[in-house]
Amino acid sequence: MADKLHFNLVSPERELMSADVDQVDIPASEGWLGVLPKHSPLMTTLAPGMVLVTNGGEQTRIFVRGGFAEITPAGLTVLAEEAMKAEDIDAETIAAKVKDAEEDLADAKTDEKKLAAQQALDKLKELQAAL
């Protein structure tokens, strides 16, 4: 059996995944990064996007926003500020939320509210793009 990569995905609220897998593709801030077992030690910041976990022909997609990835000989650890499994995200709900957020933005009167609405919209769009 080929070597496996020990993969950990943790968010501040809980540990989402801890498993031995074949390959993990992570959206690093400098571009996509495919991590295979025995990768050299590396530390990088993450861009919002999908983490792709491949194990025995099966793929799991997890959306992450903000955080780090650390690769040590012991394995890969992704520290994500927000993380959601792709299967838990419903494209239609997101589309509805984007619409809501766009309306909020149009309704916002003060600069502060505009900024907050814009940020919420951007976050949702990132999520939509990643799907």
């Binding site: 809980r14 540990e15 801030s29 030690p41 990088t44 910041t45 000989p73 012991a74």
Partner: protein, 293 residues
């Protein structure tokens, strides 16, 4: 001497109080379990983060371009105290012990001629501190409206603190909260979060002779990491606080229930004595009436 009716009323009032304290105790016990679970779930993230930080800060400390969040402003003039307490009472000395700890700190700092600013998190701490140091409180927040404290709330506080730091409004930030040791002990704790102190006892991972690659580069990563570290520290403090509050509340309510039980026993005894005395009195009256005939 209270009448029989008075005693009866008192007994029933203490009994209903006991029911309430008993219910509150059970609620606290259930909440405590959940809070403990959440604290445990957040631990891997915090630990990893500490390991990464320990790893990075060792090499970056001597670097002149190192972020101020790590090295400090080079001054020690203005201190920011973030005092995290609960929003509700009925939890024994939990809130006041945190406030006392913070107050000791304030008195010491002011004695040294330093400027003190306060951020209060939670309503109870604010109530107690504003009486003494109302003019020092620069910002306050509470979670009365929030059902379950999440990372979002911690992030909000961290953003406020970091913005103040960027504007040079303080040099050192210390966080006060009730550390959850176990169900009977909660330790009021002061923890310095800015400049970040590298956590002790965390070993950098064994790289087996290889060297880390950094993407983009070390300083950039530190710059992104440190604000998150502050948020994570605050988040952890909030979670610990929730667990501590529930534990303190459980202990306090347990005591209250037991006291109520004792009181009911005493009152019942008194009630029975009074009743017996009355019966005896009535008998004497009847007998002496019969003898007089």
């Amino acid at each position: 001497m209270p009448s029989l009716k008075d005693l009866k009323n008192r007994i029933s009032s203490v009994k209903s109080t006991q029911k309430i304290t008993k219910a509150k105790q059970m609620v606290a016990a259930a909440k405590l379990r959940r809070a403990e679970e959440r604290a445990t779930q957040s631990r891997p993230y915090t630990e990893r983060m500490e390991a990464v930080l320990a790893n990075l800060s060792a090499s970056a400390k001597d670097n002149p371009g190192a972020p101020k969040l790590l090295t400090g402003t080079g001054k020690d003039e203005t201190h920011l105290l973030i005092v995290a307490t609960a929003d509700k009472g009925l939890c024994g000395g939990f809130n006041s012990s945190i406030v006392r700890k913070a107050r000791e700190h304030i008195v010491r700092l002011q004695g040294e001629g330093k400027t003190v600013k306060i951020i209060t998190v939670g309503r109870k701490g604010d109530d107690m501190l504003k009486r003494l140091y109302g003019d020092l409180v620069v910002w306050k927040t509470n979670f009365v409206e929030v059902k379950q404290v999440g990372f979002g709330e911690a992030h909000e506080i961290a953003e406020k603190v970091l913005a103040m730091f960027e504007d040079g409004e303080f040099d050192v930030a210390t966080l006060f909260f009730g550390k959850f040791k176990n169900v009977v002990t909660q330790v009021p704790t002061a923890q310095q979060i800015i400049p970040a102190e590298a956590p002790e006892g965390v070993e950098p991972p064994d790289l087996k002779g290889a060297i880390y690659d950094y993407e983009p580069d070390e300083t950039e990563i530190l710059r992104a990491l440190l604000p998150r570290y502050v948020a994570v520290q605050i988040f952890r403090a909030l979670l610990e606080n929730v667990a501590s509050e529930q534990a303190a509340s459980m202990t306090a309510m347990d005591n209250a229930t037991r006291n109520a039980g004792e009181m009911i026993g005493d009152l019942t005894l008194e009630y029975n004595r009074a009743r017996q005395a009355q019966i005896t009195k009535e008998l004497i009256e009847i007998i002496s009436g019969a003898e007089a005939l």
